[in-house]
Each structure stands twice: as C-alpha cells, then as structure tokens.
Symmetry: C2
Subunit: 334 residues, 2 copies
C-alpha cells in the first residue's frame, strides 16, 4: 500500500496562495447554497472553555456533498494573551479525505483562513442585501476583520470612501486609515462616533466583540444595509434589538447558530423578532429561494456567526492552490 | 517574539514512546478522577457523518484543570475502506496550550493512542470491579482492542489464561491466540462460542461492533465482571439488557455518553436500568466516592464509550515522552 502524503502548510504559504478574491467568494457562496439545498452537514460548534485563562477553543466542521474532502477547524481565543505579548486568536485546520477519512493536510494558518472566509461571507451578504450603489461604506472596529470586511464589500460594491469609528487608540485608528486608503485607493474618514458612520453610509459593517449594543435604531435611514459579524457568543451584542424590528429584511448565515450566539439571540430575547420564519438565510439568497433587497429604500440587516461550511470551502480551495503551487511540507502518512 | 515550535509526531515515534504501562494507566485514572471532581470540561462529541461512504468523523476533547495543555482528537471510521485495501479507522490528535490556545503538537497516531487509552480504561474498570483474583480472562473479539484490553487487564489482574471467541475467520482467531500467548506468556484457548467464554472466566471483555447482543443474562455467574467497550453509537449493542438487571454493580465511564451511545442506552430502553442514579462512574470509583466490588460473589458490569479526558491525558503523556526522547519533527509555529 502506497503511503499517502500529508501536507503541512504554514501561514506564510497560505497567505501567498489565498487572498479574498472572486473565486474564494464563489467557493464560500457555493457552500452556502449547498447548505440550503440540504447537501451539507453542519454539526453544532464544539466549545471547550478554559475559564482560568479567559480562553475558549472552538471546533467547527462541515461535510459538503460532492466535495472530496472536509475540514475541521480548531480556533482558539485566549484573552489574556496580550499580557504575554501574544495575539489572543490562533487556529488551524485539518483537511480529511471525505472518501477514506484519512488526514490529507494540516493548515497552520493561525486563523488567517477564518479571516478570509469571514470576509467572503460579508461580501456575499452585500451582494444580495446592500444597495446597488454604495458610495460610503461604514465600518465599526479597526482590527483584522475591519480590513477583510471592507475588502469583501469593495469586491461587490466598489465604494468611494470609508467612514470608520472604533473605541481604539488613535494609533490603531490611524493605522487603519493609512492601510485601507493605500490598499483600496479610497478616502478613509475617521468618524467622531458610530452615529456619524451610520448616518453617512449606505452600508455599515460591525466587527467588534462588544457586549453592549452601540448601533441605535434611531440612526437608521432608508437604503441602509448593516452586516454584523462581531457577535458569536451568548454575551456579545453590537446592534440594538430595535434595529431588527425596523429592518425590512433580516438575514443571517445560519439561523440555528444566530439565534443562539449572534445578534438574533438578543433581538429575539427583546421581542424585536417575533416571527423567526421571516429571517432569511444566506443560502436562500444564493439559491434564489428568497428575495434579497429589491429597491434602494429598504433597510436590511445580516447577522454572521461563521459556519463550518465556510471553513470546509476555504480549506479545500487553499489546499488546491498550495498543491498547484507545489508548496507545503509533504510528510509520510500511514 | 520567539517563534514557538510545533511538534509533528508520526505513528512509529508514538508507538516507540507509548505503551500501555502503569504510568499511562495512572494518567488516565487521574483524568477520570478530575472529571468526577468537576475539574474537567468535556464537550459533547462532535459527529460529522459522511453517509455516502458509510463513514463518520468524530471529534472528542476535554480540558482538565491543572494541565498545561489540552488535546483535540479527530477519529474517522470509514467502513468501505476495506474495498480500497485500507483500514477503516484512522485518526490524529492536536495538542493545544491551555495557557495560550496555541498549537503545540500534531500527533499523527492513526488512532494508536486511542487504542492505548481505551485499554487503560479497561484496566481501571478491572482495578475497581474485577474479582481480586482472575484466573481466566475472557475476550470477545480478536482485533486490536481485544489485545489492548487483555494487556490492560493483565496489568491489574495477572491471569493464567485467556478464553477467546469471535465471529472472525480461523486465520484471524489463530493469529490472536499466537500473538497473545507469546506476548503475555499465558495459555490462550479458542472457545467454541461466547457462552464458553463467559461460563469459564472471572472477567470478560467485549470488543466488537455488534448490533445485536450476544452476551446472555442466563450465562452470568457469581463473581463475574464484564467490561463492554465495543458499543459507542446508537446502533451498537453487545450485552443483553437483562444482564444489567442482574448485575450487583453497574458502572460506566461517563453516564451522559453511555446512556446515549453505549450499552446503557439499550439497557435503559429495555427497562433493565430503572434507577439511573445507581449507575457508578469510573471517576467515583477512582476518588472513593462510591464503592466498587467488595466481595468475590458480586456480578459487575462496566460500559465504556471513551471520554475526551482520556485523549487529553494520553496525548499530554505521549508528547512529554516524545520530547524527552528528542523525537518528532519540529517546525516553526507563529
């Protein structure tokens, strides 16, 4: 029996091979479509809390019919790492054959692929829900996702300027302005507060781990789209519950997750979502089963918590590119 | 910031470093004790079915307080692999720092460590539940676990002979007889059927993936101990439900798993276990919270489904040994 090879791929090799480009977005979009068709299995997220270190390890996975492999992602968030001079987030993915169950690759991406696939989900939300023209794009937060979300949005709606606000230091906020204006060639405006962002923009993306909401329903205006990607645990909330009552379309990546871990949890608890069946999943938009935005006056909101199918989709695309580029360390398997 | 190293360890290196010895059994026993004290977190098993290939990927994990690392195990069972000349089972473990969440090691054990830690659980069950003297040890099955279970039992109760029966070919059964008689230096008797095994032995271990029970309550005799480790899904059953009604002590590794996936599921469904609180967990025996066997007439049964704490315990012990022996491939982490 020939020994199968296992690819060990490091972050640098993955960053070289994978960018938030059209075919990555398409791969993630395809995965949402398959999920909606019932062609994917998404087990509940496994959560391993390490309260002694304000840490948690989450495991996500999904099998998508028709794909030869599946991914298992292990993502850590340890919020005291800063004291050690280390980033709080880390992570890696295993790629297994969906034919034999054998390990095919270990992607040592330190969470990079998660950043990209989360940006891709934002792009897909914008594709179906943002107004056809976005001149001003708003972003709350100044971290890695504030960057990826704007990359993804720009792919779908090439905006002219970004309004950014975050409760970070001037240094962090200035770095964001400099990086994104250079990268996208757009004007980046440091807003005074979240209200200035919302009032001036056609699309707003929230990317913070906030535990009390900072987006007020009173700031909403016709034609606004909001993507909220920060909330992914029971304690987090970025958006006032009333926003969901006022929105014409409420969408999310996966209802079973969002009503448990996302903005929809707090919105339902507050009674702002009375009819859960009215909430649309991204896969329904992708497959045309439900309609997204159909005029430029609607107010739309999309809640993202991150689904295992995104991880399987990007891991397989990443591994294919790494193999094609003849990168990665190959070691003997069984 | 210094780059942390990640250890990539292959099966051969793990087999060289890790045997089912006293300190492995102690590490697993300690883990069961911590679980009982409430010092461990065991999330529900993540199951990713791949029905197209009669396959399933399971993820198990646990955090044990006081340990610097935790393990996440990914185990595959793809039951059409035989057609491809491949084993159905495979698996590997990730070791993460419980301080930072960062990846410390990938143990490419192809399921070897699971075999060892499962043997260790059998040894622990025997320590507290088997009669003080076991002359004849019975085993149903002739595969890898039939070997590890007898190694573990021998460590606790150095028996004189093994009675073995399994529904396998003569070739497989003869190989078992030859291997175990040579390895343990005991007589190994090929029984005609399961009844002969049970009637002749003081301790019987079942290691099959049977879907209908083959151990009859009518064969039980005073002083018998049974460990059932084969059943770990909702379809499997090795032991007639009545056995549990007749037993003086019913134990298991983890009630929440065994009542869902193990023998206790079918026993409860049949009404043979009316009082779930009477079922003892291994950790309660380890900590002396509940009493195991206290005379040589009792009939005892222990149901094992495999708990994530076992994986964390053996992975950490294995990694420590690999590092001490300066084995494993070290690659740059973040």
């Amino acid at each position: 029996m020939q020994k199968a090879e296992i690819y060990i791929v490091n972050e640098d090799e993955l960053v070289e091979s994978v960018r938030l480009d059209g075919s990555i977005i398409e791969a993630v979009e395809h995965a949402f479509g398959e999920l909606q068709k019932g062609n994917a299995t998404v087990p509940p997220i496994m959560m391993i809390p390490v309260p002694e270190r304000t840490g948690e390890v989450d495991v996500k996975s999904a099998f998508i019919k028709g794909l030869d492999s599946l991914a298992i992602k292990v993502a850590s968030g340890f919020f005291e790492n800063g004291k050690l001079g280390l980033p709080s987030a880390s992570g890696q993915m295993l790629v297994l054959s969906a034919v034999t169950g054998f390990l095919e690759a270990v992607l040592l991406d330190n969470g990079y692929l998660t950043q990209v696939r989360t940006g891709a989900a934002g792009a897909i939300a914008a594709k179906y829900l943002a107004p056809s023209v976005v001149e001003n794009a708003g972003v709350i937060g100044a971290g890695t996702q504030a960057r990826f979300q704007m990359r993804g949005l720009y792919h779908m709606r090439p905006f002219k300027r970004i309004f950014t606000w975050s409760p970070d230091s001037d240094e962090i906020r200035d770095a964001y302005v400099e990086d994104m204006s250079r990268e996208l060639g757009v004007e980046v405006i440091k807003a005074e507060d979240a209200e200035e962002v919302v009032r001036n923009c056609q699309s707003v993306t929230t990317t913070t781990p906030a535990r009390s909401p900072f987006i007020r329903a009173s700031w909403l205006h016709p034609g606004l789209h909001i993507t909220a990607m920060g909330s992914d645990t029971e304690e987090k909330q970025e958006i006032e519950a009333d926003v969901f009552a006022k929105a014409d379309i409420v969408a999310c990546d996966l209802k079973s997750q969002c009503f448990r871990l996302g903005e929809l949890r707090s919105a339902r608890a507050a009674g702002s979502i009375s009819d859960e069946t009215s909430v649309i999943e991204l896969g329904e938009l992708v497959n045309g089963v439900k309609k997204g935005r159909d005029n430029d006056k609607q107010i739309t909101v999309c809640d993202l918590t991150g689904v295992g199918i995104q991880d399987t989709a990007i891991a397989l695309e990443a591994l294919a590119r790494v193999k094609a580029a003849d990168k990665g360390l190959k070691i003997g398997g069984r």
